[in-house]
Symmetry: C2
Subunit: 174 residues, 2 copies
């Protein structure tokens, strides 16, 4: 192994394929839902059941979660590549991603952010803590309800969509 420069870390992480992502839904003050694609997710407690997501401070979802203190994490299935790529390359400030992708949503029980149909797992989360971490914020969410879809296969990417070139090469594969 060879030492790499820290400025190259972002590119190196992209080589750790296949990539995995989750969808994160949230709502604005008027209840309008949005969805983003996030790679930076982990669980962080069994009891109580807690999950953590890192959201970039400039992202629209960051504003929405900070205001509403709620979000839903949904694990996309292998059939949702196009929808996920679209959501990962557009901002909810500009478009209604649900309308554009046709992703079907369902009302959650305890939070205003919607569930996404056809995902393998949907987790309704209430923010219980947060931590400022550089250019992102970690939001810690307590899972207050969960939904599972039997038989679906988790989406894994061979390509990524952080740049236009990556996006094109990713689309070309599917």
């Amino acid at each position: 192994m060879r030492e790499i420069e820290l400025k190259d870390l972002r590119a190196i992480f992209r080589k750790l394929k296949p990539e995995r992502v989750v969808l994160v839904t949230s709502v604005d003050l008027h209840g309008r839902p949005n969805v983003m694609v996030a790679e930076w997710f982990m669980r962080t407690s069994f009891e109580p059941p807690l999950v953590a997501i890192s959201i970039g401070k400039t992202r629209y979802t960051h504003k929405l979660i900070k205001e509403s203190k709620e979000f839903v994490v949904a694990f996309p299935s292998s059939e949702m590549v196009k929808e996920v790529v679209y959501c990962g390359t557009h901002s909810g400030r500009d478009v209604d991603k649900f309308k554009e992708t046709g992703l079907k949503i369902r009302e959650a029980k305890f939070v205003k952010a919607p569930l996404i149909e056809n995902c393998i797992l949907n987790l309704e989360c209430k923010v219980v803590d947060s931590l400022d971490t550089g250019d992102h914020t970690i939001f810690v969410g307590e899972v207050v309800a969960a939904y599972y879809k039997e038989g679906a296969i988790l989406l894994e990417f061979e390509g990524w969509f952080g740049s236009l070139e990556d996006f094109k090469s990713c689309c070309a594969k599917f």
Copy 2:
């Protein structure tokens, strides 16, 4: 999709295969190194480069990181299944996992925790913040040095090793 009981969440997460893990090294007050297997890892900032790991409060590594405020995250390659399974089913309180597995280590530049040879990516991390999250703690580490091994393939598990039965079925596959 159907709603599930929150007590079943742990079992449901195990169905989201393949599983991915990282190795986390740390040292005790005498400089003796240990390594654990962690699933709950994410990045959390581009600039500065930060990563986050959730470590169970009862784990030996929790004590070591809390004391030393340093750790290394290493991404195992597909050739390291047996070593990873061993590390994931034994505690550094009882055994020297490096000795038992034959995992080769290399001195890090800025932290006392060792690098692991043959891993795809090694990240030297200094703890810059932490957050109490239920039965775990999130440690946020700033990456102060990184090492990459070209051409290796990331380890992905079809089985997991949280229980003896899982461990046996996992070993049987390799």
